[in-house]
Subunit: 280 residues, 2 copies
Amino acid sequence: MLQTHDQDSGFARSTAVRRDHEGRLTAQLDGGWEVGGGILNGGYLLAVAARAAVLSSPHPHAVALAASYLRAGAAGPAHLQVTPGPTGRTLAHSTVVLADEAGPVISVQATTGTLDPGPQTYTDDDTAPPSVTPVEDCIDVAAAAAGGSTVPGVVAPGLLAELDCRLDPATAGWAVGAPAGEAVMRAWVRLADGRDPDPLSLVALLDCLPPSIWGAGTLGWAPTVQLQALVRALPAPGWCLVESRTGQVAGGWIDEDYRVWDATGRLVAVSRQLARTPRP
Amino acid sequence: MLQTHDQDSGFARSTAVRRDHEGRLTAQLDGGWEVGGGILNGGYLLAVAARAAVLSSPHPHAVALAASYLRAGAAGPAHLQVTPGPTGRTLAHSTVVLADEAGPVISVQATTGTLDPGPQTYTDDDTAPPSVTPVEDCIDVAAAAAGGSTVPGVVAPGLLAELDCRLDPATAGWAVGAPAGEAVMRAWVRLADGRDPDPLSLVALLDCLPPSIWGAGTLGWAPTVQLQALVRALPAPGWCLVESRTGQVAGGWIDEDYRVWDATGRLVAVSRQLARTPRP
């Protein structure tokens, strides 16, 4: 049986991938990552697929993942089929299909490699973190939900057990009927069990917020069609700052970009997804 | 034999995909799209794969494509294996593997759907086109190359026969040994045969410029590892404005974002790629 490095953390347990006695990779999809309606979070599913890619590679980190979201995935037993592609000294390609008991859920192009702990040698000004409300003045979504003064629908109850999410009040007006008008969402996020982020848990943060279009007053559920995640650095310990932003909505399609900075302000992961426009 | 709609255009011929008598999809990869060293342009390869996805789908447009670049592709005969995924009323998923005579070149997650000619219902300020030098004052790369006053390496000679590329002098300082210091490249681009852009030719524009990191003074070749392309609208006739930008370079990895606006200033396509840092 293959083991994960940090097998005693809640996140490692939720995303654990094992090789069964017939050599197949299996996982137990964790209902704690449901976003409502029995549907599992897209970033969580991608992190499980990334774990399978890493287990099947000589390289330690998933650096690029691009997934087609074929249908909603449900908690319970799952298996992962990894088809290796070219493997070299610096990187390896593979295709990963994650299937639950009802069939394929996501199909993923994965690239594994090594994230070097060294500094950036070039950064665009645009990679600096945005101004944000200090974490102690943000909305503790779990506490708000538990106290009855629920921020409606911010994060489904299940996800609150996995992620500690502190929403920037500047991007939370929609929760009290006063959307800011801009399709942006910002939050400080860490794993609920207090563990520090690792490159794999960053993947689970790349689709963890309410749809950013809620900030422009359009509520509802936006099912992901395709999402690309890039992990760019080993994250420092502490809170991550997560920002999501929608560029445009047209013809039934909507995009969303995520950026994640670690506690030192370094941009450590990004994603871009195409989704269908929200259904009420 | 399947036919493309606009089979008499140069671009349609270069990217034509046909079904042979055994039912396999084949293409003839066009050496005109070489970027040097016998290596075909990544956007061109992706457009050929997109054509195969559309031919195998009930939906007319490739809206999301994510490709792993497995190895460099060469001009000559190629075949395309399309594995259909879930197909619905608004979209269809598939996986496409494009292989040349030496084996697989790109492996692609593809989503097809319909691009609606209607307007955007939401746009972020950031989707507006950047300020740019008027096309008549930009550097005609083909003319510069033909006249001997070559802008060195701007676009390989082959690509000049396919694309009419007018580089913004504000982002061309590197060509005369005076890089602007910012990893940004901007150009007006259209098909060299004068045809107006269509959704498929936009895909070929999403990796058509010199590496944007050249603008920061780092020259060399940056091989694409993974690239996601989203096509967001039917482009208007006329020139497209293409901008590419690098966010950060670290640990041997470099990213590059492309944005393409049509002649009306509408953002019609975007891409993001992870590549290896330039090799001299």
